[in-house]
């Protein structure tokens, strides 16, 4: 199993009330942007990723979001290029480039090839559709999001593998002269891992392409369902899915006392946390979600990662945000709500002694070949962030590696995803173990 480190690189200097008043991170005016603090933080976060390598993480993971203080990575390829040069060993995984909102797959192919070359083949490139708000930010037609995604992906693979020059006339993209001089270091091209949250269409697409799917902090029960869906699709394509096809990323804080860890973990709901990524009207642009996803979202009672809860939708329809709000009370409720999230294993916080068995339970249930620690959000000091990383790496990670060996969780480098042949008519093996869900009170 590979163990990774990820942070959203939050902008840490925004008063919480500003976000709460806006009901979301997306849309907060950039008048609050402080260049000196941002300059410090961009440098700090790059150092932090280098520190992750020093600590022994196998993978560092980057992402990007647009117009959003939730995540300072607006152009992750810039950061990835710096890391490609500065680090020596870690894999650099991008989860992922939002192909439909960038709308320039040829440029993307060139940028990523350069990163792969600078790193001498340490790039793992992932793709996403971009959050709903990013369709607005980039004026990317959300009704063509899936088409842009598929076409851009197919084009990039071709641009990396088919000798040029050649001409491309697609539905959404057109290039007269495809012949990128810089081609990836890895052959035929860098591995691709695809992160996701809710969309079964993405899971199906990953299974078809034999790309590992990285669950982003999704609830354990539904994640097992997604794994099963992936494995069923994989079986249709003639292979047995296994740990090498799955990764899981989960908010994690480690400190030297439970109290301290709990206090730091409160910052996962700072400003409303991931459920306040963007307001409902920006989260669900027209045509962005499939009908089944829309139905599922509207019925969801408690919200989801970058998602929208039914409650929020109703509140928004009533215009319930117009009444005066006691923001201290809102904050208190958010923190109180975090207890349930922790009980559900959606945030892991504690000392090495309490965190280790919890993550082992997750590994037992989901059997991922990749586990990624998602570092804390909100205004947490550099020292506390680094202490959490250090404690995780030194006192949790070795036990997780041992456990992964014990329960046989090969990663995508140990076993090529999609390489285990499954003959037609043969029943596939289980990919998740729901047993512990009951013991943990999650079913």
């Amino acid at each position: 199993m590979k163990i990774g480190y990820f942070t959203e690189r939050p902008y840490r200097w925004l008063p919480e009330e500003v976000v709460l008043k806006n009901r979301a991170f997306f849309g907060v005016s950039n008048r609050y942007f402080d260049r000196d603090k941002a300059a410090d933080d961009y440098n700090y976060y790059l150092d932090e990723y280098c520190y992750a390598e020093e600590l022994g993480f196998d993978v560092v993971a980057l992402n990007e979001h647009h117009g959003n203080p939730f995540c300072m990575g607006s152009v992750m390829n810039v950061e990835a290029a710096v890391l490609a040069y500065r680090t020596k060993r870690v894999k650099i995984v991008l989860i992922g480039n939002p192909l439909p909102v960038i709308k320039h797959p040829l440029r993307m192919a060139e940028e990523l090839a350069e990163i792969d070359l600078i790193s001498r083949g340490r790039l793992i490139t992932g793709w996403v559709r971009g959050a709903g708000s990013e369709q607005f930010f980039n004026n990317a037609n959300p009704a063509y999001n899936r088409e842009y995604f598929n076409e851009a992906h197919d084009f990039i693979v071709q641009a990396w593998t088919r000798p040029g020059p050649w001409r491309y006339e697609g539905k959404h993209f057109h290039y007269r002269h495809v012949n990128p001089w810089a081609l990836p270091y890895q052959k035929p091209h860098p591995p691709m891992w695809i992160p996701g949250v809710i969309s079964p269409e993405t899971v199906k697409w990953c299974a078809e392409h034999r790309y590992p799917y990285i669950g982003l902090g999704t609830m354990l029960g539904p994640t097992c369902d997604l794994w099963d869906y992936y494995a069923d699709e994989a079986a249709k394509h003639g292979y047995q899915a296994g740990p090498e096809n799955f990764g899981y990323l989960i908010p994690t804080v480690v400190a030297d006392s439970q109290e301290k860890a709990d206090k730091i973990a409160e910052n996962f709901v700072y400003g409303g946390g991931q459920n306040a990524f963007s307001a409902p009207e920006f989260t669900m642009p027209p045509g962005y979600n499939s009908k089944s996803a829309i139905r599922a979202l509207a019925k969801q009672p408690t919200g989801s990662w970058l998602g929208v809860s039914g409650e929020k939708l109703t509140q928004q329809a009533r215009g319930g945000d117009e009444a005066p709000v006691d923001y201290a009370e809102v904050h208190r409720k958010l923190v109180a709500g975090l207890e349930k999230v922790k009980r559900n294993y959606q945030v892991i916080a504690g000392t090495p002694a309490t965190v280790t068995p919890k993550i082992k339970s997750i590994l037992k249930i989901l059997r991922p070949g990749v586990f990624i620690m998602f570092s804390v959000q909100g205004p947490v000091s550099n020292e506390e962030r680094m202490a959490s990383m250090r404690l995780f790496a030194q006192e949790v990670m070795p036990a997780l590696h041992d456990y992964a060996k014990e329960i046989d969780l090969p990663d995508p480098f140990q076993r090529t995803p999609g390489s285990v042949v499954l003959r037609a008519g043969v029943k596939r093996d289980a990919v998740a173990d729901r047993g512990p869900l009951t013991e943990l009170g999650l079913r």
């Binding site: 607005f136 027209p286 045509g287």
Partner: protein, 261 residues
């Protein structure tokens, strides 16, 4: 008592749902970006005088989506094909909001396709002043409320959209929003070449606009007035974006009178 029917016809190489009602000289009605809301009082009033023909826009749930239609100009071309195949042109038209945009694209491509045009709060031309409301940035419920000036006191609005939204309604609205985005996301609900292509079109045109319209600003009406050679404007005092249900009597009088000229 409804005197309309809904059928699926084959035309323009696709299947199109069409609502037809009333009797008299045929009249094409192009619904707005939210979809056909149902047979309203103004439809019933007009049905005594005209045969109303209301195609349900492809991709809005009832007529199949047509993949090659990627702009309002494409859609206008498809509807023009339908009119040719049904031998309906020249015909009078009423277009509401984005439906007005479609009608204007059709007139720009072929000025003789319509004998008279009624454009009710039409999109399609970038307003000289103000902006077309970005309803893509609104949830459907907020968008709906923005379409009338006084939702609580517009009985037909309550009749169409009152009560809890069913999953089917929600889905139909999402279909409409998605298809509208496909056609009108960028440039947003207008076509920069449209006013130039409309220049010199002499089709008698009535531009209808509610003075409290929050969706389409008066600037759109001014843009049409500048482009069309033979048009006049009727302002409906106090109405929002849907004068046909907000001020039904006044609307019917103005439109009925114009079509009867």
């Amino acid at each position: 008592m409804a005197n309309w029917t809904k059928d699926v016809i084959k035309a323009a190489n696709t299947e199109l749902s069409i609502v037809r009602g009333g009797s008299g000289k045929p009249l094409l009605i192009l619904h707005d970006e939210l979809g056909y809301p149902g047979w309203m009082a103004w439809n019933a009033w007009l049905a005594d005088r005209r045969e109303e023909i209301i195609p349900l826009q492809p991709g809005f749930g009832q007529s199949a989506r047509v993949d090659w239609v990627r702009s309002y100009r494409d859609l206008g071309g498809l509807y023009a094909q339908v009119l040719r195949e049904l031998n309906l042109a020249p015909i009078d038209v009423i277009g509401f909001s984005a439906g007005g945009f479609i009608a204007a694209e059709m007139a720009a491509a072929c000025p003789h396709v319509f004998s008279r045009m009624v454009l009710v709060a039409p999109m399609g031309i970038k307003p000289q002043d103000g902006e077309i409301l970005d309803f893509f940035e609104l949830t459907i419920r907020r968008h709906l409320r923005a379409t009338v000036a006084d939702p609580e006191n517009t009985p037909e609005f309550g009749r169409i959209y009152g009560g809890e939204m069913t999953p089917e309604q929600f889905e139909a609205f999402e279909d409409a929003r998605a298809e509208t985005a496909r056609l009108g996301w960028e440039p947003y609900m207008h076509n920069p070449s449209l006013p130039h292509l409309l220049y010199g079109v002499r089709t008698p045109t009535l531009l209808v606009w509610g003075t409290r319209d929050q969706v389409v600003p008066r600037g759109c009406i001014d843009g049409y007035r500048a482009a069309l050679a033979n048009c006049r404007v009727v302002e409906i005092d106090g109405a929002g974006h849907r004068p046909e249900i907000e001020r039904e009597a006044e609307f019917s009088r103005a439109v009925g009178g114009f079509l009867a000229e």
